[in-house]
């Protein structure tokens, strides 16, 4: 398990770096963007609110180290400050409302994309040189060249506006009460369909190609020849001998891809006005709501790091070599 803990140390360092970035950015940036923000809000916020805001962004005249200390202690009690745009709602409250939608959207897209892409990769590597192997990789390379959010706009235009098959915006219908009812859950799926499809289309090719390439090199191994010589069925050789060994590198890619997919889902959310982290982040940027922006960056980073660590644990369970080598 030393591997898992070594990785955990890396994630902790990454977290500390993000914390320091988060702390230093508003204090170090040229042009005094935070000062501009104060000027904008003067007269609109109560003096106490201004005080609280100045404190959280480092306009107190304390030394940097003292400020960092109070920043950390506020953070450890779960206090990310107050959102300016949603004043006086605490940042944590605004974020937690959107967190689940992003996790749901990014989660379901990654899952579909990974499963489908890996399966296609196994298949086209097995029948390499076949029709699918000739057509799918260039097709998805072309699709992957479009920006996520542009595919999302196109899908929205075709299936939302022209054909009217799917809802145009938000995560569920305005007339529905959130709850574990059949109606609500099916509505949730209908609203997630187009955003998820745009992420899947943009990312599927990557999984397929990497799986295909590893699969092809595994297919050259002697134990595959042996399995075939033993007279095992093609299906067994393909899935239990080849794919099982080829899937590990793809899983490593999974960890790295989570960051990309979260980034992509941020952009997709904006096209669909999907009320997740990305939508909040852009609203925060447009309203110059610095506390909310920083809180969102921290939450997104934390979720990505956590997902990566879970994958490392899974990897250690699946691949005995990672357990032994340390």
């Amino acid at each position: 398990m030393a591997f898992v803990f070594k990785r955990l140390a890396l994630y902790l360092i990454a977290l500390v770096v993000s914390l320091i970035l988060n702390f230093l950015l508003p204090r170090m940036m040229p042009g005094d963007p935070v000062g501009t923000m104060f000027a904008r809000f003067r007269g609109r916020l109560s003096p106490e609110a201004m005080d609280a805001l100045q404190q959280s962004l480092g306009f107190t005249g304390e030394s940097l180290l003292d400020q960092f200390w109070s920043y950390l202690s506020a953070l450890s009690s779960g206090d990310l400050g107050l959102s300016v745009a949603h004043f006086p709602t605490p940042v944590t409250e605004v974020i937690s409302a959107g967190l689940w939608w992003t996790l749901w959207l990014a989660g379901i897209s990654v899952l579909i994309s990974f499963t489908l892409g890996t399966a296609l990769g196994i298949f086209i590597a097995w029948r390499r040189g076949g029709v699918l192997d000739q057509t799918l990789p260039p097709l998805f390379a072309l699709l992957g060249a479009f920006p996520y959010f542009w595919l999302a706009m196109l899908l929205l235009w075709v299936f939302g506006f022209q054909l009217g098959w799917f809802p145009l915006r938000h995560a569920y219908g305005d007339d529905l009460e959130p709850g574990w009812t059949w109606l609500f859950i099916s509505d949730m799926f209908r609203h997630a369909a187009l955003p998820a499809l745009s992420i899947v289309l943009a990312t599927l090719g990557g999984w397929m190609l990497s799986m295909r390439n590893t699969m092809i090199s595994v297919l050259g191994e002697d134990y595959i020849t042996l399995a075939q010589a033993k007279g095992l069925s093609s299906r067994q050789v393909m899935l239990r001998y080849a794919a099982r060994n080829a899937i590990l590198p793809n899983l490593t890619g999974f960890g790295m891809a989570i960051g990309f997919v979260v980034s992509g889902s941020l952009l997709t959310e904006i096209v669909f006005s999907y009320p997740g982290q990305g939508y909040l982040l852009v609203q925060a940027v447009r309203a110059q709501d610095y506390p909310l922006m920083q809180g969102l960056f921290l939450t997104i980073t934390l979720s990505v790091l956590f997902a990566n660590w879970l994958l490392d644990i899974l990897y250690a369970v699946l691949d005995p070599r990672t357990r032994r080598s340390t």
Binding site: Y11, P147, F149, L154, F260, L267, V285, M293, V304
Partner: protein, 324 residues
Amino acid sequence: MNRTSWLLDIWYNPKARCGFLILGGLASLAIFGPLFVSDPSLSVARPHLSPSWTHLLGTTGQGQDVWAQTVVGAGLTLTIGFTVGLLVTVIGAIIGVISGYLGGLTDELITALVNVFLVIPGLPLAIILAAYLPTGPLSMVAILTVTGWAWTARVVRAQTMTLRGKDFVRSASLIGEPLWRIILVELLPHMASLLLSTFIGTTIYAIGAQVGLEFLGLGDMGSVTWGTNLYWAANDQALLTRAWWTYVPTGVGIALVGFSLALINFGLDEVTNPRLSVDRIWRSRLHQLGVTPTSLTAKVELRSSTATSNSAAEIANKRGVRDE
């Protein structure tokens, strides 16, 4: 194989040549096109006119000519994309090669930093950097370089580690060559194809990330780039008014650049990766003999260390496809 013969081979590779031709066409459009179109920020007609002979791609929600905006927007977008690609490759190569060649504590510290930058999600970091920095092309280049250098450093470091043990590098260090000479003369030229491929991957990433940031309204909204075109299209309710011509041309432009770069990378990989070329030669031989390969047909494969030496190019290729 001659050290530089692959440069010529790339041109004879059909995929790569196709990529070069598309990219060359777009680049000349970006360079010479602005001389032939009207001022893209000028309002020249009624808003949201559909494509016609006077306005080839219609007009935007502000009544600007979409064709002029697309052509002029290509310039700044491509310039920033290739600048970031170059900067990231140079910075990443220097850091990676130093880390991989020196080893020891330096290497451990640099590797830790690289890993940290790899796990922190890039776009959110870019967004908060962009929100604080003053807008402009220089800030954009800085932001994309900061969020992009780590991958190159990692790939170059891995390649340096495999080269470090090779005899020619050892002998160079034994006869007392200075560090900069070993790096510049012995190490970097031997990963030229890898560097080229990471340069291409990074450029794809930089264009995608730049367009994404500008689409979010982070960047110089007064300038005309592909990202700001999409931002204004979304802002002017292009979807609601069904004005598809305001965002489709820009998206196709971005995809053509990305696709042509990916094609060049695929071609580069085919030319420099012996494993792929051996398989290709074998398959064309089978084809000549009239044999259709099945799962039971014998395979040829290179198993020596050279076969894997270019796998980093494969990785860079994959990244280009997946990264946004």
